[in-house]
């Protein structure tokens, strides 16, 4: 009985996805046909550009988040000082802040730097998002420090310490942060709308928003679904571990 209820609930949750996939394969009079895919991929060439924009932004953002945030999180957990504790509280506050608070000053800042209307306008502010730092810091507080100190006795290079002692221990968290930052940047809506006015740099989410005919939305949705599902398939378990331990140490 419980199993039945639960299964029904799961199916209801999967229903939007299944319906989207089914609808993308229908054509006139709900028969099976590939004409919507044909309209999208062959008739309308802008889809490829939008897909490429989103892919490259997502990849660059996710990798940069890892490269920049892991050493910073390591430093924050290892330095013992009141200033660092205050900084951590500031990070948590920034994490809860809505996007619009930073939207306007970032627009002015990016315009002054000259990065407005390029892909970097979306990439750079998203790389420094405090959410991933907080998750990494919470996870790193629970790892084994004796290994770190052992490597510190052996070598004087902090890069070596991080690569050999820290990264193997926080692997689940790295996967989790990678997936979360990919999902977040694949999904970005406010920043591209406000920072980018050049049609060439439009990402996928805006493309689907501005598509004129509703018909090509379903195949576009299915195609933009595939990378995310692949990522979840590969790293889904680690995602759960990463979020869990990030939340439990609060």
């Amino acid at each position: 009985m419980k199993k039945l209820l639960y299964s029904v609930l799961s199916v209801i949750f999967l229903l939007p996805l299944l319906l989207t996939i089914i609808k993308s394969f229908t054509g006139e009079n709900d028969l099976f046909s590939l004409e919507r895919y044909d309209d999208l991929l062959i008739g309308n060439q802008t889809f490829y550009r939008a897909f490429w924009n989103t892919t490259i932004c997502t990849l660059v953002i996710s990798l940069s988040v890892l490269i920049i945030t892991i050493p910073a999180a390591f430093a924050i957990t290892r330095i013992k000082s009141r200033l660092i504790d205050v900084f951590f509280v500031i990070l948590v506050t920034m994490m809860l802040m809505p996007l619009q608070v930073t939207l306007l000053p970032n627009y002015i800042g990016l315009r002054d730097i000259g990065l407005l209307d390029t892909r970097l306008a979306i990439i750079v502010p998203a790389v420094f998002s405090p959410v991933y730092a907080v998750i990494l810091i919470q996870y790193m507080r629970g790892i084994d420090t004796s290994i770190i100190e052992a490597v510190q006795l052996e070598s004087n290079s902090i890069v070596r310490v991080i690569i050999t002692a820290v990264i193997p221990q926080i692997k689940p968290c790295i996967y989790a942060v990678f997936i979360l930052s990919s999902a977040e940047s694949w999904n970005m809506v406010e920043q591209p709308i406000n920072f980018i006015h050049n049609e060439n740099y439009m990402p996928l989410s805006i493309f689907m928003n501005q598509a004129m005919e509703w018909d090509i939305l379903y195949p576009a949705a299915v195609i933009s679904l595939i990378p995310m599902i692949l990522l979840y398939w590969c790293f889904g378990d680690e995602l759960k571990d990463g979020i869990t331990l990030g939340g439990l140490h609060e």
Partner: protein
């Protein structure tokens, strides 16, 4: 070089980025909210806040945002607690839980077309509530089911020998033990409910949605487009104040319930 200095070196790129894109803008917003005009830059104190609070659109937006929190957050937490209870009972449930967690990573623009087609005749904000709950429940389920797994089984066994039923076990043992995680999930859900703007914007496809869906973020974004920076800044700071109050309440509760 001492290790401490090397740590600071690691911190520099991240620190400079966060200062440039998050902390400095925050102070800039505070500055904008207390001047009256971009050109005259006179200090007018709290006059901007009073103007914004009396603005009819802001009041509508505030009411709608608070309504979203009051409706969606308890529903999401209740549903995710019940589902997490099932998820931790057996493997079968755990395999099915993928269907709840998947919506978290699915891009919003993928779900919106089918949502629009299904709900296009409904005249209140229900589609947005459902969209938010749909997207958010996965995160709560992950957190709460992890917390349920940590509760030691000896307590359950002791209670069972005293003759407790399953519902009593759930109510008197599980819930108090996972209270810190429930509180953290509530805080996360409240913070995310302020981000429901994205789903709402994609669903209605324009900057001026119907009155029942006009939330704080629409107010702020439209002021951004109208170049009314003062109203934008005041709205943003009031928004932040609400989140901070929620966070403080949650932290107090968490301290009270911590084991």
């Amino acid at each position: 070089m001492k290790w401490k200095n090397k740590y600071f070196l690691c911190l520099i790129p991240f620190l400079s980025g966060v200062m440039l894109f998050y902390i400095l803008p925050f102070f800039r917003i505070i500055y904008y909210s207390v001047i009256n005009n971009q050109f005259m830059k006179e200090f007018v104190g709290l006059q901007n806040y009073i103007d914004v609070l009396e603005n009819q659109y802001f009041q509508t937006a505030l009411k709608n945002s608070i309504l979203i929190i009051l409706v969606c957050v308890p529903t999401s937490i209740l549903l995710s607690t019940v589902i997490s209870w099932f998820v931790t009972q057996s493997d079968y449930f755990r395999y099915l839980s993928i269907s709840f967690i998947l919506p978290v990573v699915i891009p919003t623009s993928v779900i919106v077309p089918i949502w629009r087609e299904f709900f296009h005749s409904i005249e209140n904000a229900l589609p947005i509530y459902l969209l938010f709950i749909y997207k958010n429940i996965g995160i709560d389920i992950i957190l709460i089911s992890a917390a349920i797994k940590i509760v030691p089984t000896e307590i359950y066994e002791a209670a069972k020998t005293d003759g407790a039923t399953k519902i009593q076990l759930f109510k008197y043992i599980t819930i108090p033990c996972i209270m810190p995680s429930i509180i953290f999930s509530t805080l996360l859900t409240v913070a995310n409910s302020f981000r429901v703007y994205r789903e709402s914007y994609l669903y209605y496809g324009s900057n001026y949605p119907p009155d029942y869906s006009y939330t704080l973020q629409y107010y702020m974004n439209n002021n951004f487009l109208k170049l009314d920076f003062q109203a934008l800044s005041c709205g943003a700071l009031i928004n932040m104040l609400m989140i901070l109050v929620a966070a403080l309440i949650m932290l107090k509760l968490q301290r009270k319930y911590s084991i």
